[in-house]
Symmetry: C2
Subunit: 408 residues, 2 copies
């Protein structure tokens, strides 16, 4: 993180109330959780508080086992060895779940975003049987909790879902590949887990964007666009450091931006020529003449590898899909003037195979002022961006008030 002050920190010198002390504990823990190892002096600078305040905050967090101090390999300002604060991964953890179109993932994740243990299962496509999904995930959750050290505490649960989530209550309102659902997924999973913790639910691409912004290819960027390929195409957009959610949580549906209005392919949403219809898994596999072959990540990776080996049909398919993707990306850069555009999920593979086509469209169709500084990147967290974002949802209560969350 490049900025020198941290939003949320309260530093009034002498008068630090109980409330702001507790909040500052959360601010400090958040810095360490995000960046992994931060020196005392850097923390004091970022939070705008003096050395004695930082020492008090660190010792309180260290006493609960949330952080530890150790000597850094590099030296500090005055040439003395610098003490750095690191997150402890043994004391607390969250459960993170990822419901993608064709797979289910669960993980136990420690402070600092470390995946400590994980489980994964295939999911039948087009299946919206809530009970089946919850049964598999709750089983994984029980195994992960049972395998945790006996003195470790589960402090939160977050879940990523491949659907449109109402921000007000976390209801899964619509899954474009299926239709209206109105699933109470979070409450159902929470009941089955039986941990006495609520399950915070977010849209998969929104969470992928959050995670890439927090600790991935968009770290330090105030404005980023994340495109997520999971059979269809979703989006998560960070505006001024915050997730774009819109009036009810349905924003950033960039997969349903129409790029091909004339002879566009029909889209799962009922429209035609949407970005998802032109660059999703199905469009790529059909164009490459591989509609009958393997689907999902394996199928998409197969096309990219075939193109690298000189397969003309695969190359032509990537050229076509890359051109549509480039139009979508150009539109998004003109709309958001972002510092970075990130390709996640299967779009990460597609961008690797079609970067030239995307870059050409960006070069030709983005206003020069917005083209000057934007970077195009693949997701640093790979296929785990969405899971990592779910873990961040799970950590939110701890980071808002560390001592309060532990005393519950």
């Amino acid at each position: 993180m490049s900025s020198s002050t941290v939003s949320g920190a309260i530093g009034t010198g002498r008068l630090v109330s109980q409330v702001s002390r507790r909040r500052n504990l959360g601010v400090l823990l958040r810095e360490v959780h995000r960046d992994g190892a931060v020196s005392r002096t850097e923390l004091a600078d970022r939070m705008g508080v003096n050395r004695s305040t930082i020492l008090t905050l660190i010792s309180k967090l260290a006493a609960t086992g949330l952080v530890r101090e150790e000597t850094s390999a590099t030296t500090g300002r005055a040439g003395r060895p610098s003490l750095v604060v690191r997150p402890e991964t043994g004391q607390v953890y969250v459960l993170a779940f990822d419901v993608a179109v064709d797979r289910l993932v669960a993980a136990r994740v420690g402070l600092g975003g470390t995946v400590l243990e994980r489980r994964e299962a295939a999911r039948r496509r087009g299946n919206d049987d809530l009970d089946e999904v919850v049964t598999v995930l709750a089983g994984f959750g029980a195994e992960l909790v049972a395998a945790a050290p006996p003195d470790a505490t589960c402090v939160g649960v977050g879940a990523s879902y491949c659907g449109l989530i109402r921000a007000a209550d976390g209801k899964v309102r619509l899954v474009p590949t299926i239709g209206w659902t109105d699933l109470d997924f979070g409450p159902a999973l929470g009941r089955r887990l039986g941990l006495g913790l609520p399950v915070a639910v977010g849209n998969e691409a929104h969470l992928g964007a959050l995670a890439e912004h927090e600790r991935g290819a968009g770290a330090g960027s105030r404005n980023l666009v994340y495109l997520h390929g999971d059979v269809g195409v979703g989006g998560g957009i960070i505006v001024g450091g915050r997730l774009l959610d819109g009036d009810e949580g349905y924003a950033a549906e960039l997969g349903h931006m129409i790029v091909n209005p004339y002879d566009g392919r029909p889209c799962n949403c009922g429209s035609r020529g949407c970005l998802e219809a032109e660059v999703g898994e199905e469009a790529l596999l059909e164009a490459a003449g591989r509609a009958g072959g393997p689907l999902g990540r394996e199928g998409v990776r197969g096309v990219v590898q075939a193109a690298e080996r000189g397969d003309a049909a695969a190359r032509a398919a990537l050229d076509r899909v890359g051109d549509w993707l480039g139009i979508g990306v150009a539109n998004l850069i003109n709309l958001f003037n972002p510092g970075v555009v990130i390709f996640g999920g299967m779009l990460s593979e597609i961008y690797r195979g079609a970067a030239a086509q995307v870059d050409t469209r960006v070069q030709n169709s983005v206003l020069p002022v917005s083209r000057e500084r934007v970077a195009l990147r693949t997701a640093a967290l790979g296929y785990d961006s969405t899971l990592a974002g779910a873990a961040e949802l799970g950590f939110a209560a701890l980071l808002a008030d560390p001592l309060g969350a532990l005393s519950r």
Copy 2:
């Protein structure tokens, strides 16, 4: 404004420091400036402070001549006549300027957004002679200041410009109809005005969005999309109550979203099939067979009126343009999940003539969850949205610290 608390207000009961008292004066003045007449009790509720604090704040502002109290026509909670606080328009004013493609406007604007006096002149299209523009506007400014009451104070200057403005320094970097410009318009106008005040500069559509959000068709909406037709097509987008600016201030260029990639018309930006190329003034007039007739507002209004009279060519032109506009609007609703979409400038005329086409596209191509509650409206401030937004820029310093701004 519907929300019951106001961001920025500090109410700690007994301990109100000098700093927060001054800030609270600004918060109160902002409420009154925006809403026109607000009761004492409503103000206390919104700001979360008690009655005695509100009385102190009101009396301080009234003593400087910024607000006045008067008995409202309606009665208060307990059946007693309620005292309302209103902005005074005689004591302070700002100068607002609007540099559009084909006209120059200047106005003296009072608290509450009241346009007290205005000047307007035609501008030669494609003319980027900074000196000529500044000379006309500074002349208008001098006239407006001379005509103001002798005891009235000019507290700020804001300007709207039809170009891409760098947020960091207000430089006009690019005008899509002209190319790179890198004009130091604000400093040049400020020097020529000689008022000792800086000139804050913003993109015309950004300012139109701000004004419609503040006191227009988007009042009370946290997320809105404003499309502005001024020969070309610009955009201003409010996200979570704040203007979408992007990394450097160039965001919301929705006019350069590609909607017609196959046989799209060439766009002034160098690309093809941009929304601006398909729905701008030129596209409409050509499609209606009126390319040789009047341009600008007159030309666009002429097409809409002809279609209303049954002119087939005008009707077909509006159908075509309305369809492209609908595609653009559908994309924007899927991306922003806004509460309201507002058509401003010449697009307000076009939407009146092509609402059915736009609505059909929205119905067919927006995800149902985002379509449920969105409203499509024309700008409540008409052609003055951009000028009103420039006035808001001018008022910013006063609203941040009323007494500080007056003592300078």
